[in-house]
Symmetry: C3
Subunit: 457 residues, 3 copies
């Protein structure tokens, strides 16, 4: 089953629009690593895909960390006493330092200034700042707005609560024939920032919708979690089950116009690393594969040495590489339906490789078989042959039982989908047999998950 | 024995002329994958080198293929009824689609046109077309000639036969001390095309002549065969014997002025791959080593997964890369004696490596031995040393019993022949001993082939 | 212990001046591979570092070589009979071919000319020539001076002796906790040439002074030896002990302004090769790592196949690459205190890696540990992190027990010293434990060398 064809058939452009609409719906919510903004976000996603929510109580120890108090906020502002608000959380939730403790005070500008964060180089943008693990408070605002403030007394209010509660995450499982899993993870904790990471959230949700109900080789587990503490909490609660994860992707920054970047897993040569590199090579001009580093998003948790899971990270722009990063300029205009759609297509290209990569054996391995008599070679000698015929020759030549479709695609330089088509044409022509392989041995027949692992025939 | 020196001594330039004369003698014959044109070609070669001919009857099953009916042609033309020939096989045998079934008909130009092949971009050249495995007929002609034809009735005649007979190939074996073989294969089935592949045929014949009668390590098997079906037929009849093939080369396109190209075997790291890469690096400006691909000439059969023989392909231009490919412009002017001679020299360079590559052991491995007292180091300290002295230092340093001459040549960046001379000088100086190695263990003393494999001392 | 910090603290600039002063003191002496110039050189070094001298008698067989007669020289000149000296050894000892036999004669210029060496391309420079192993004599002079000589009779005198005596070398051992050794070798046999190799001699002496008295992991053995024959003599007398050498460096040409070059050991992937490559990558703009070759200085002896020691060669310019090589232009102006100091710093960088490279284990390997609560992560989320925090994340991620600090430095692209600091900070924070490794197992506690090898805890 070629998932790419099915995705094209489903209408990529419309899906781009749909993802952008979802992002627009989620954009105004004031998310954080805990609290109601995050819960509302998951509730909206839950209308589109089946989402199982988990609440991890404040104080729960998750490996080296402790789930913090839950943060909620109703209002925050700086105003001329009795006058108008000069900084107003109601207009933009980025104005308050995320996780600020409650404050009600009157203070001079000079006293307030150390708590005001601005970007002097981008004087019209608001920075995004947090203080999750140290009790603190502050405001973020445009540098020009700061310059315009008179040196006088202001009324300062942050109407927040930081109190025992829980950390929430959402999980969506799309079952396949095998208990072996593909993990798709995205952080869903940032407030009004679009590329970071409503883009990843919306692409993940669309991918889950697209895969749901199909006959899949792998089981797909989608995680919508707060960054770092969420991934760590999930890992702590599912440590044994991580053994099922055979491939994984963290999705982030997938709505802007930059070329694609794939950051390899810690292993560096995992199948998902090779699949993603292949997808980027063929799908996207200017794309780049980055070596693993322990800085980034939640792949750093999945790739911690105790787990060392084969999980990479797919992005367009990446952290720190775009000026809009962690500012109010990362807004709904910064992401575009077409970019989201193309990102979904690249995800599907990778998933298509994972689903279909397998080994075949050439049943006519001595010399080339005569393709012409099977209609698999163009008639009329003496002229060049097309790429799909090359793909058939490659599959026949390499199918000694050791090479998978992805191996052949890599060696030949031809797209995986073309190699896959060649394999199918040759199999139908009686020239190739599909081999069970180690991964297949772990797959179970559809509807047979309860019987456990058994060999496919 | 340095074969290169002997080749130079034999007069390369004269051999270039001789190869071109042979090409000129073979050029007019209308060869195909079967038939008398091929037989006449082999008969002419047989006057120069001992050639054993094999006839494989029509209908013989060779792996997935069946030997087709034999094709012969006496005449073919298109003419104004009762008038002169506007297309005439007697002038150029490319005019008829190779393997055309017999035809006698009168038809209008419009009816004939679908069977007329031209090259609109090269309006004065005649294309080369075949239809070996689908019964069909047609003509090839200059596009300008086609444009000049009036839209009227023409008399069309192809006086050919397609009937049970046999496929012919020629084999020339030059015996060496060992039953281990080097396979040299070239396709000899194309009609009046010079670079493709009279060039390969003539270089192969010259190489066989050059090697004949010498004291050789390996046995050399030269195949002059029709492309694809010929290689497959030979493989089918000699399947067990292919186990003796330790190295191999397909020779093609060796007469034009392009830089050399060597396409690696499927294994990619076979000794012949390394030897050819080394020869090209040192012998030829602008030469290039290409990765294996399953498209090309008969290396695709030798490298099919059931055989996976260490056989690469040596070319100057390669298929599709030169505009003259498969056209009448690939004529005797397109190939030059000097290019053929240089190609023979490159073949001899590769063969020289295969013949002489072996391992040595440094008998004075602790520190450098004092070369000066043996006349192997220039007197007078303080000045730079020449490349041949570097070669001696490299041989001494690397001869720990693991590295062969080719290994040392590759690591040092010096030519194999220079390393070989250094080894011989050091051996004579008592500083190196020659080691028997795995390959040598399979070699038998001269005249001793019947006693089978035994260790050399 | 970060040796680099200690070196900076000791005052690099002053050490550069001190090295240049030592070079100036040694410069006038007429050194050779034997004789009193070499002995005086070692005596001067012996005032700075504890040096054990070895005298190897003339005629001693050292592997393939024999220690030659000892050479000493008092005077040499060419003069107009009874008149002034036109070439005078007293002014520059390069004027005489090193190891010239004694001569007293009167001869015409035409007769003398074959024994006069000049550099026509550099007419004001005197070349350096030797004739160690062939009895000969000659003079070296400026080409312009030669051109100015009248064609008349000259009085020629070389007041030298070539007679049984001995070859001298000096050894300085700086003990460490382990009998495992780092070998530092430099040739000390060239007469008035500054970069070749007073630079190497002075840097080696300064490194020995710097290391003396410190608590070191390895024992450091410094060799000040005549080139080739000296290294071979040392190896012949210490063959069994070479088993202790775990790393080694030949030091040469370290005073000029060129970028650094490190020539790898024959092994190519020894720890010292990786350490030196790392040091050059981070320490020096434009530096280059060269593949091993068996031409150069005494690394060719240490890397002969019978020993194959992990010894590379650190240089700035390298042999033949600078016009001043082996000429009078390689004088005290050609080397500079700042360049010598920088060379010492690079040596210390490499030694610092060898001393401190070890493996650690992440004690909190599941997900990232919470660095913030330990003061190891900057407070305030949402901003970029500094390189030292990256270094901590890398150490945590890679410390699965397999990777050493150098492995982590290489993978992360961060400087070794930064990774080392990260490891120490994390160890103090309870997040890493230091692992004993194979090398550590061979180390003994300080003052415990007599008890032999035992495991460190």
């Amino acid at each position: 089953m070629n998932l790419l064809d099915e995705l094209e058939h489903a209408g990529l452009s419309a899906q781009g629009e749909e993802m952008h609409r979802l992002a627009a719906e989620l954009y105004p919510l004031c998310r954080s690593i805990t609290g109601n903004g995050l819960r509302q976000t998951l509730a909206i996603l839950g209308k589109r895909i089946p989402l199982r929510l988990t609440e991890v109580p404040t104080g729960t120890e998750v490996f080296d960390w402790t789930v913090p108090n839950e943060w909620n906020i109703r209002d925050a502002y700086i105003r001329v006493p009795g006058g108008e608000r000069v900084v107003d959380f109601q207009r933009r939730n980025l104005h308050v330092v995320n996780y600020s403790v409650p404050v009600r005070a009157t203070m001079r500008l000079s006293e307030l200034k150390p708590r005001l964060h601005t970007l002097p180089d981008r004087p019209d943008w608001i920075p995004y700042r947090t203080s999750y693990y140290k009790e603190d408070w502050g405001f973020c605002l445009e540098h020009n707005r700061l310059l315009a403030l008179e040196d006088r007394e202001y009324e300062v209010c942050i109407d927040s609560t930081l109190a025992p509660g829980s950390l929430t995450y959402g999980e969506c499982v799309v079952p396949g024939r095998s208990p072996a899993e593909v993990l798709i993870s995205c952080h869903a904790c940032h407030p009004s920032l679009a590329n970071d990471n409503l883009s990843g959230v919306c692409v993940a949700a669309a991918l889950a919708q697209f895969l749901a109900g199909r006959d899949l080789r792998y089981t797909y587990r989608f995680l919508f979690i707060p960054a770092t503490i969420g991934a760590i909490a999930w890992l702590a609660r599912n440590q044994a089950a991580t053994g099922n994860i055979q491939h994984g992707l963290v999705l982030a920054y997938l709505g802007d116009s930059a070329a694609f970047h794939y950051k390899k897993s810690r292993r560096g040569d995992a199948t998902v690393d090779r699949a993603a590199a292949h997808a980027l090579r063929h799908a996207c001009e200017g794309s780049e594969v980055l070596e693993f580093s322990p800085y980034g998003y939640d792949e750093r948790q999945y790739c911690s040495p105790g787990f060392d899971l084969p999980v990479g990270c797919l992005m367009r722009s990446f952290w720190d590489s775009f000026p809009e990063y962690h500012t109010s300029a990362d807004n709904l205009d910064f992401i575009r339906p077409a970019h989201l759609a193309e990102s979904l297509r690249v995800c599907a290209t990778i998933v298509n490789i994972l689903e279909n990569d397998r080994r075949y054996r050439n049943l006519s391995p001595y010399g080339e078989p005569q393709l012409g008599k099977r209609g698999l070679y163009p008639p009329g000698g003496g002229v060049s042959i097309a790429r799909d015929v090359h793909a058939r020759l490659w599959m026949l030549n390499q199918s000694d039982g050791r090479n998978s479709l992805l191996d052949v695609a890599e060696r030949s330089g031809l797209p995986f989908a073309m190699i896959m088509d060649a394999a199918e044409a040759l199999r139908r022509g009686g020239l190739l047999s599909m081999l069970p392989d180690a991964a297949d041995a772990e797959l179970v027949a559809p509807g047979d998950a309860k019987r456990g692992r058994q060999q496919e025939n």
